[in-house]
Structure formats: structure tokens, C-alpha cells
Amino acid sequence: MTVLEFDRVTKIYSVRGAGQIKALDDVSFSLTSGRTIGLVGQSGSGKSTIAKILTQLETPTSGEVRLDGEPIPRRGAGLRAYRQKLRMVFQDPFASLNPYHSIRYHLERPLRLHGVVPKAEMDDEVRRLLERVRLQPDAVVDRRPHELSGGQRQRVAIARALASRPSLLVADEPVSMLDVSIRLGVLNLLADLGREEGLGVLYITHDLATARHFSDEILVLNQGRVVESGPADDVILRPQDPYTRALRAASPDPEAHFASLSGSDGGAL
């Protein structure tokens, strides 16, 4: 079932002195539940603009974004329902949690706002959420963000996103600020949750390798335009567009590197 649809979305910014900049140019894609789309592009490609449109920090200049077939509501009950269905996981786990509040507060707020469970069950639900993201509830629930490691914080952020029982998760570079050895753990967690709960996941990244493994489909953005899209392996292993090819060639690929080295004596750089 289609959850999210971008229908010929264009976003134009007017910049003083520089005229107009097309951050998004006629972008269309759709995301079905239980699947993951990787949105790949470099800085300035338009991928953050897509995230901003989804969080309603920006509105498209033209075109339409639909969630469950409905355009994004501007206000009222519709907006609340939209915010319950679509949740964000931000890039920087150090910045996305309020240093002043405990982990419990961070998880209780969405539960309360969206009336997920009655007050009496709040505590249990918070614990359940923490367990879902493989955290020990007792160890973290009354702590503040600065007492947790980066990986733990990002798990809390994921738990917060899951709290309202959404149907779509937007993960904006969710692991790029984490230590390398815990990145896969967090990605795996996201993948598991997506599968178990039938979530649609929009994975925004600049890293081709994780995008390939984590996503079902990949969209390559360049200068606000979708230059290539398709099943993850097709896009990464058999790129058609010259830009995608350039991206792939530039990404580190030890496997191919050592394969090409065998036989030839290579100046590595």
C-alpha cells in the first residue's frame, strides 16, 4: 500500500542577489509500507529539502506531497494525525534530545500528545519502547541525554519516533555521526523495526554503501532532480546515469580495488 507520494514536487528558493535556486525540480516518487527507499545525494542535491518539506519547515512551490492519499494538512486534527503517522529521526543524536529533560520525558511526550496509551499504562509503554530499541529500561529511563553514549541516544531518538506508532519513518543521516562500529547496529535496528512493524522508511544519506544494503530502492538526487532510481542493487551495481556512475566511482570500494590490483602492481592512490 502506498504510504507516501511525492508528485512532481518543485521547490524554488529566492536568494537575495542570486536570483532563484531550484532546490527540487519535479521530484516524484512513492513509498509503500514495509519498504525502504534510500535517498542518495551530496550536499546541495535537495535531499534535506525533502526532509524539510516532510517536517513542514518548507512548503513545495508546486506539486503535491500525499500521505495515505491525503495532501499534507496545514492545521488541526489532520495535522496531528499526519505528525502521528510520519516521524523523524535526526542526524545528530547530541542535538536532537533536549539536554534538560530525562529520557522518560522524551518518550512520554509523544505518547501523551497522540494519546497512544492511557495514563496508567504510560510507564509500561515507555519501558516497552526502550526494550524495542534494545536498551535496558532501568538503566536509561531516568537519565538525561548527556549521560548516554551517542549510540544509546540515537536509539532513544528512534524509540521516540516509534512512540506514536507511525506508519512512516524519515531517517535523515541517522548514523553518520556515530562511531563506525555501532553504525551497523543502529541501521540493523531500524531495518528490523521497519520489517516488524511494517513501516515505510525513507533513508536519507550520502553514503552509497549503506544505502545499498539498507534500502529496497534507491533514488539518486543531483541538483534537485532525480537522476536515477530503481532497485538498490541495480542502481549501485549497474548505474546508468553518469552522475551515479561518478558517485560510485568516487566511493571507497576495497573489494573492487583489490580485485583490480591482483595481477597488476598498483600505485594505490
Binding site: 551530496q42 562500529s181 544494503h213 558517485l247 568516487a250 576495497p254 573489494e255 573492487a256 594505490a268
Partner: protein
């Protein structure tokens, strides 16, 4: 060791706070002339402390508590870095070992033109040069890194991240040092720019023959560009071998963990369980 550039023996750095933190523990390392040595590890593993410590660039409370660092100059002279006094050290720096810092805005002085920051190096280290000669040298450097001499009068904020990093490389190249330490030089850059900078570094290295110590947490990148790789963990080098050996036959458990943390761009799927 034949044709060694830097001999490091039993090198330790401690942050002398309460309780003291051992950031680098008994590292022994031989850097060969002309090679690219990759220094990999996660945040806090001591790779930057090691690289900075070698040229004694760490600020107090860091203290070098053991070991020796000997720089085998191309003149044939052996310089014991840990025995230099402040003034000798100042002259040694940049002349023999230069650095390329992480490419963010912050490594360049935001209120000075890049030309003046490049000239600075000559003014201090080559006092004999005339103003015109300095100008010429700066123009040449900017030409070499393909920034173009006309950018001499630009300020750092007027350049893109990639351009700024090229300026840093030009600066590091200024005195034709024998060793260049590169600390995450491409981390903040987009992958296409990153590749271009790497290509440039490689080309310059071929041309000028300097040795490179390349620090990054990005192991796949390191595997492609390095001759040898040292894997660091908790202040120690757990494995040091050629890139190919590290890739095909990692001996240390931690090296294997680190390798498996990176999904393969073109290899088997299944690293992320979907």
C-alpha cells in the same frame, strides 16, 4: 631499517590529569620514506594523539612519558625530535613535517587572506626571501594545487570546502617537507570532492616524493590509498601491515570487527539484515 624516515620507539603519551589518561601506549613504528601509512581507528583510539604527539604538537596536560622519535633527514642527519628545545622545534615544524588539518572552515584564519597565510610560512621559515619572491612562491603553490594564483586575495569564507582544503595542501607543501601528516583531510567533504582531493594528493606525492601519514576512521578509503595501515585501539597499535594483508588476512580480532562494520559497496549483500 633501510630508508626509514621516522623511527618511533616505545612512544607513550599521557594526559596528566587526575586520574591520568594514557592516550598512546608504547607505540613502536617505522615510517618508510615515500610511503602512505594509514592510521585507522574509532574516536578516542589515540590516532590523532599519536600523530600530533610525533611532532610534539599536543598541548599540556599532554606529556610524552616514554619513547623516542627520530627523524632521518634527507641530508643524512638524524634528528631526535624528543630532544629539541622549543626554538629548534619551531624551526623543525613545517620545514620537515607539515600537516593538513580537517577541511573545515576552522583551520584557516578567517580574517586573513589565504595569500598572507601562505606567505606567513615563508616569512617565518625563509627570512631571506624577498617580498617578491614570496609572492611568486605563493602564486606557484596555488597554481600547483589548481586553486589559481588569482585567489591569493580571497578570504577563507569565499572559498568552497574543497578549495579550502586545497589551500591547506598548498600550505603544507610550501617548504617541501619530507613528511605530511593528514588528519581526516577529506572527512567533511562530499564524496566527489573527496576523490578529487585524494587524486591530487597522490599526484603531488608522486611529484614531490613526500611521505604521508593519513588519519581517518574511514577504513575502506584507507584500504584504497595506503601502502600500509596501522589499526589503533585504546592507545595501542593492534595491527600494522600492508593494506592488502589487512584486507585479505586480518589477524587481529578488532581489525576484523572494524572491517565488518563497513558495508561493501559492491560485495555480498546481507551486512544489514533485511
Amino acid at each position: 631499517m633501510r630508508d626509514a624516515l621516522l623511527t618511533v620507539r616505545d612512544f607513550s603519551v599521557v594526559y596528566d590529569v587526575d586520574p591520568p589518561v594514557e592516550a598512546v601506549k608504547n607505540v613502536t613504528l617505522d615510517l618508510r620514506r615515500g610511503e602512505i601509512l594509514g592510521l585507522a581507528g574509532e574516536s578516542g583510539c589515540g590516532k590523532t594523539t599519536l600523530a600530533y604527539g610525533l611532532q610534539r604538537l599536543l598541548k599540556a596536560p599532554a606529556v610524552i612519558t616514554s619513547g623516542s622519535v627520530v627523524f632521518h633527514d634527507s641530508s643524512g642527519e638524524d634528528i631526535e625530535v624528543d630532544r629539541l628545545d622549543a626554538e629548534q622545534m619551531r624551526r623543525f615544524r613545517w620545514d620537515k613535517i607539515s600537516m593538513v588539518f580537517q577541511g573545515a572552515m576552522n583551520a584557516l584564519n578567517p580574517v586573513a587572506t589565504i595569500g598572507s597565510q601562505l606567505e606567513d610560512v615563508f616569512e617565518v621559515h625563509r627570512p631571506g626571501m624577498s617580498r617578491a619572491q614570496r609572492r611568486e612562491a605563493v602564486a606557484e603553490l596555488l597554481e600547483i594545487v589548481k586553486v589559481g594564483p588569482q585567489r591569493r586575495r580571497s578570504f577563507p569564507h569565499e572559498l568552497s570546502g574543497g578549495m579550502r582544503q586545497r589551500v591547506m595542501i598548498a600550505m603544507a607543501l610550501a617548504l617541501r617537507p619530507q613528511l605530511m601528516v593528514m588528519d581526516e583531510p577529506t572527512t567533511a567533504l562530499d564524496v566527489l570532492v573527496q576523490r578529487e582531493i585524494l587524486r591530487q594528493i597522490s599526484q603531488l606525492r608522486r611529484e614531490f616524493g613526500f611521505t604521508v601519514v593519513f588519519i581517518t576512521h574511514d577504513l575502506p578509503l584507507l584500504l584504497e590509498i595506503s601502502d600500509r595501515i596501522a589499526i589503533m585501539r585504546e592507545g595501542e597499535i593492534v595491527e600494522l601491515d600492508t593494506a592488502e594483508q589487512i584486507w585479505t588476512n586480518p589477524r587481529d580480532e578488532y581489525t576484523r570487527t572494524l572491517l565488518s562494520s563497513f558495508p561493501r559497496l559492491t560485495g555480498e549483500r546481507g551486512v544489514v539484515a533485511r
